[in-house]
C-alpha cells in the first residue's frame, strides 16, 4: 500500500472569541490588542465567549438550529466555513464521498433543570424517585440529541451533506490531534481521498466550569498569558469551532482546488505525566521532524494550555528548538477537543500570510523570519494528557 501520498489542507473554518475566518483572526492578532476574555459571566473565573455569529449563513433552517445546543451550532458553523473555503459546499458529488472525523466533547446539560431539581429535592424524603419524575417531566426530549458527542457529526451530515463516513473521537485535546492524525494517515495510505476534520467546544457553560474546577485551576483576574500563570497554572475555558478539509494532492489538483498548506507530518503520544514526561515526549516528537524543518523560515504555533507543569515543560523544549514561538490559548482560551484544530488553522494562516503576531507573555519569543514563513510547527500539550506535534508547510 502506498503510504507516501501528499496531503493538502484545502479549506479552513475557524470561529472563536477573536472572530470568524482566518483573516479576522489574523487582523485581531496582528493588531496586538488585549485578548477578548470575559471575567464577569463566570466570575471569578475568566472565560472566552464566542464572538457574535450569524448562524443563519451556514445553518439556514431555524428548525435545525433549534435542534442543536450551542456547541453543535458552533461546530456546524465552522464546518460550513471550511467546506465553503475548500469550494466543496453543496457539491453533492464530492460530499457524498467526503469522510469525516470529529473531535467532540459532551453537550450542555439543561442547567436550569438541574438547579431546580437540586433545590427542590432538598425538601424531599425519597430523593431518587423524585428525581426520576422530575427528569421525565422537565427534560426536553430532544436535549439528549444535543448532548450526544456524535450528533455534531450527525448535524454536519444533515446540514452540509457530508456523508462519506462519520466518526467521532472523544478525549479533550488529544482527541483533536488523533482525529487529524488518523484522517491524514488514511489519505496518505490511499484509504481516503478527502476528509473533513474538526471539533467544537463551548466552555462558557456552568456545567463545564464545574467539571474543570473539580480537578484543575481556572484562571482568576488579573489576566495573564498562558506562560505566566504561576506554578499551579490555570485554564481559561472557551468557545470555539475549528474544521479543516484535507485531501490527497492528486484529488485536490484534479478538482482544481487552491491549497491552503501542506500537512506534512502529524504525531500523537501519551505518557503518565510524571515530572519531565511531557518534555521528553514532545522532544522525541520534535526529533522525528527536526530534519525536515528549515530553521530560517519556520515558526512554532504553540498549543500550550496554561496548565502546569505541562506548559513549563513545553517551554523548555521550545527554547531548545530555538524557533519563534506564539501561544494561541492566550488569545482564544482553552477549547479542548477543538483546540488543536484551531491551532492548525492559525498555523495555516501563519504560512499563508508569512507574518507573525506580536508576542504575549514570557514564552512568546522571536520575530517572524525576515524571508517569510514557509513552515509552522503546531504543538498540542494537553492540560492533563496527550502530546501532539504537526508540521504545516507553505505550498508554492
Amino acid at each position: 500500500m502506498n503510504t507516501a501520498r501528499e496531503v493538502w489542507i484545502t479549506g479552513v473554518g475557524l470561529v472563536s472569541a477573536l472572530g470568524e475566518g482566518l483573516d479576522q483572526h489574523w487582523d485581531r492578532l496582528m493588531a496586538g490588542g488585549p485578548p477578548p476574555y470575559d471575567d464577569k459571566t463566570f466570575a471569578p473565573y475568566i472565560t472566552f465567549p464566542l464572538v457574535p455569529v450569524s448562524f443563519d449563513s451556514q445553518i439556514p433552517k431555524k428548525g435545525d438550529q433549534r435542534q442543536m445546543e450551542a456547541w453543535q451550532r458552533i461546530g456546524v458553523y465552522a464546518a460550513g466555513l471550511a467546506l465553503t473555503d475548500a469550494g466543496i459546499a453543496k457539491n453533492t458529488e464530492i460530499l457524498d464521498k467526503t469522510d469525516m472525523i470529529v473531535a467532540a466533547g459532551g453537550g450542555e446539560r439543561d442547567v436550569a433543570v438541574d438547579a431546580a431539581i437540586l433545590t427542590d429535592a432538598r425538601k424531599v424524603e425519597n430523593r431518587d424517585p423524585f428525581v426520576n419524575e422530575r427528569l421525565m417531566s422537565d427534560l426536553r426530549p430532544t436535549l439528549f440529541l444535543a448532548q450526544l458527542p456524535n450528533l455534531l457529526a450527525g448535524n454536519i451530515s444533515l446540514v452540509h451533506g457530508v456523508v462519506g463516513s462519520s466518526r467521532t473521537f472523544m478525549g479533550e485535546e488529544a482527541s483533536g490531534v488523533d482525529a487529524l492524525r488518523v484522517a491524514h494517515s488514511r489519505i496518505a495510505a490511499g484509504q481516503s481521498e478527502i476528509s473533513l476534520v474538526g471539533g467544537a467546544y463551548n466552555g462558557t457553560r456552568w456545567d463545564l466550569v464545574l467539571l474543570f474546577r473539580l480537578g484543575t485551576p481556572l484562571l482568576e483576574p488579573p489576566f495573564r498569558p498562558v506562560w505566566d500563570r504561576g506554578p499551579k497554572g490555570a485554564l481559561t475555558l472557551a468557545a470555539m469551532g475549528a474544521f479543516v478539509v484535507i485531501e490527497s494532492r492528486a484529488h485536490a489538483e484534479k478538482r482544481g482546488a487552491r491549497p491552503v498548506a501542506r500537512l506534512a507530518s502529524i504525531q500523537s503520544s501519551r505518557n503518565l505525566r510524571k515530572p519531565g514526561d511531557a518534555e521528553a515526549t514532545l522532544r522525541a516528537e520534535w526529533n522525528e521532524i527536526a530534519g525536515q524543518v528549515k530553521k530560517d523560515g519556520a515558526v512554532v504555533i504553540s498549543g500550550a494550555s496554561g496548565a502546569e507543569p505541562a506548559t513549563s515543560e513545553e517551554r523548555s523544549v521550545l527554547a531548545a528548538i530555538g524557533l519563534p514561538v506564539r501561544a494561541t490559548a492566550t488569545h482564544i482560551g482553552n477549547g479542548m477537543e477543538a483546540q488543536f484544530l484551531a491551532n492548525i488553522a492559525l498555523g495555516c494562516q501563519a504560512v499563508r500570510a508569512g507574518t507573525l503576531f506580536p508576542g504575549s507573555g514570557s514564552g512568546d519569543v522571536g520575530q517572524a523570519p525576515a524571508n517569510g514563513i514557509r513552515q509552522a510547527v503546531v504543538t498540542s500539550v494537553g492540560h492533563w494528557r496527550g502530546e501532539g506535534l504537526a508540521l504545516i508547510e507553505r505550498i508554492g
Binding site: 428525581v131 419524575e133 436535549l143 479533550e172 488529544a174 495510505a189 464545574l210 503518565l272
Partner: protein, 426 residues
C-alpha cells in the same frame, strides 16, 4: 513465505483473541452457552429506584456492578474484563505490554446525580441551589475523583496504561455503531502497516435513571415491564422498542502473517468494513434505505465478495418498529432473492441493546457463530411481522454451514457501519 494479501493487496487482518461480557454472563464460554440456548439476560432494574420511570427493565450486568459505581467506573471495569480475556486468549505480547494501539468505543460520560447532590450538600446552600454554589466547593480535594470519573480522556488512558497499548489511545463514539467503528479503526491501522496488532474494545455500563429517561423521552424503549425476558422482540409484529443493556467485547486484531509466525490460533478474519452516513434525520433512517444499503454494499465491496458469498447476517435488529423495518428494506435490497433463504438473527433479542458495545459484542458472536457452525436464534419471535418476511432463526439455535457473516450496526446521528467476518483461510 510470501506475505498474505487480501483481494485488494492489503495485509490480511486476523482475530486472535476475543473477550465478552454481557447480561448473560462473563466470558465467551458462558455467553455462547446461553446465546445458543436462547436465554434472555433482561431483568427488572434493581440498581436504582425505578418509580416514575416508563421503562423499568434492562440488561444490567449486575455481576460486575459494585455499589456506588458511576457509569465510567462500571464501563471501565467491563472493558478491562473483556480486554483481559481477549489478550489472554491471543497470548500476544507479555502481560501489560500489548504491542499495538487501543481503539475504545466508550459511552459519553458526565457528572452524575449522586455527585451533584454531594456537591450541593457540601455547598451549604439553604435556599436556592445554583451551579455557582456547586462550583464554589468544587476545588475541595474530596471531590477530585469526580473530575477523573467524568472526563472523556481518562478511561482510555487507564486502559492504555493497564494493557500497555502503544501510542495515543483512541476513544470514539458513533452511537450504536461504535463497537464496529473501533474494529474498523484497528483494521485500517493494520492495513496501513502502522502496526501489527491492535486492541479494539467496545464497552458500555451506562444505565442510570437519567439514561433510561433520555431514551424514554425519545420513545425508543420497550415498555414491556411485565415480561422482561420477552421484551426484546426483534422483527416481531408486536415489537415496541429496544431494551437498554450493558456489556463489553474486546478483539485482538493482528496481521495474519504476524499471527502465523508466532503460532497464534486464528479465530477469524476481518475481511472488510463499510460505512455510510445518513443525512435524513437525527434519529430516523432515510426512508429509501439508501445509506443502509450503501453501507452493506461498501462492506461487501471492501471484502471483495458478493451477497452470494454470505451465509448469515448478524442483524442490528434492535426491536424498534423503525429499525427492523428499515433493516429489512436494506437486506432485502442488497440480497435480492437470496434474502428468502439466508438466515438473519438478532443477538439483541437475548442481550438487549448494549449501545456503544453492541457492534463489538456482535462481531465476537459472529465469529463464535463461524467457529461453532451454529447460529444463535432471535428469541421472543411469536408473532411474525408479515411486512418483514425473514428467516430470523426463530427461537431456537440452528446448526448451519457458516463461512462468512455480515454484521450490521446502525445508530442515531446517521451512523452506519457493517463488518464482513470470515473464518481462517483454507
Amino acid at each position: 513465505m510470501a506475505a498474505h494479501r487480501d483481494k485488494k493487496g492489503r495485509p490480511v487482518v486476523a482475530i486472535t483473541g476475543m473477550g465478552l461480557v454481557t447480561p448473560l454472563g462473563i466470558g465467551k464460554a458462558d455467553n455462547w452457552k446461553k446465546l445458543t440456548a436462547g436465554q434472555s439476560g433482561i431483568r427488572a432494574i434493581t440498581r436504582f429506584p425505578t418509580e416514575g420511570l416508563r421503562t423499568t427493565i434492562a440488561g444490567t450486568v449486575d455481576e460486575v456492578y459494585e455499589d456506588g459505581m458511576v457509569s465510567s467506573e462500571l464501563s471501565q471495569k467491563l472493558a478491562l474484563l473483556a480486554g483481559r480475556e481477549a489478550i489472554e486468549e491471543s497470548r500476544i505480547g507479555v502481560s501489560g505490554d500489548f504491542p499495538g494501539p487501543l481503539f475504545l468505543a466508550f459511552p459519553p460520560i458526565e457528572i452524575e446525580w449522586s455527585q451533584r447532590f454531594a456537591l450541593a450538600a457540601a455547598s451549604g446552600a439553604n435556599e436556592k441551589i445554583e451551579y455557582g454554589d456547586l462550583v464554589r466547593v468544587a476545588a475541595n480535594p474530596q471531590f477530585h475523583d469526580f473530575y477523573e470519573e467524568s472526563k472523556y480522556g481518562v478511561v482510555p488512558e487507564h486502559l492504555a496504561e493497564t494493557f500497555g497499548t502503544k501510542g495515543s489511545p483512541i476513544s470514539l463514539t458513533t452511537a450504536c455503531a461504535s463497537g464496529a467503528t473501533a474494529i474498523q479503526l484497528g483494521l485500517e491501522a493494520i492495513q496501513r502497516g502502522e502496526c501489527e496488532a491492535a486492541l479494539a474494545i467496545g464497552a458500555d455500563g451506562s444505565i442510570t435513571a437519567e439514561s433510561v429517561v433520555r431514551f424514554s423521552l425519545l420513545s425508543a424503549l420497550s415498555t414491556n415491564n411485565a415480561s422482561p425476558q420477552g421484551a426484546s422482540r426483534p422483527f416481531s409484529k408486536n415489537r415496541d422498542g429496544f431494551v437498554l443493556a450493558e456489556g463489553a467485547a474486546a478483539l485482538v486484531l493482528e496481521d495474519y502473517d504476524h499471527a502465523l509466525a508466532r503460532g497464534a490460533k486464528i479465530l477469524g478474519i476481518v475481511e472488510g468494513c463499510g460505512e455510510k452516513a445518513d443525512n435524513f434525520h437525527r434519529t430516523r433512517s432515510s426512508p429509501d434505505g439508501k445509506p443502509v444499503i450503501s453501507c452493506m454494499r461498501n462492506a461487501l465491496a471492501d471484502a471483495g465478495v458478493t451477497p452470494d458469498d454470505v451465509d448469515y447476517i448478524n442483524a442490528h435488529g434492535t426491536s424498534t418498529p423503525e429499525n427492523d423495518k428499515m433493516e429489512y428494506l436494506g437486506v432485502s435490497t442488497v440480497f435480492g432473492e437470496k434474502i428468502k433463504t439466508i438466515p438473519i438473527s438478532s443477538n439483541k433479542s437475548m442481550i438487549g441493546h448494549t449501545l456503544t458495545a453492541a457492534g463489538a459484542i456482535e462481531a465476537v458472536v459472529s465469529v463464535l457463530t463461524i467457529l461453532n457452525q451454529r447460529i444463535p436464534p432471535t428469541i421472543n419471535y411469536q408473532v411474525p411481522d408479515p411486512a418483514i418476511p425473514l428467516d430470523v432463526v426463530p427461537n431456537v439455535a440452528r446448526d448451519a454451514k457458516v463461512r462468512r457473516v455480515i454484521s450490521n450496526s446502525f445508530g442515531f446521528g446517521g451512523q452506519n457501519t457493517c463488518l464482513v467476518l470470515t473464518g481462517e483461510p483454507a
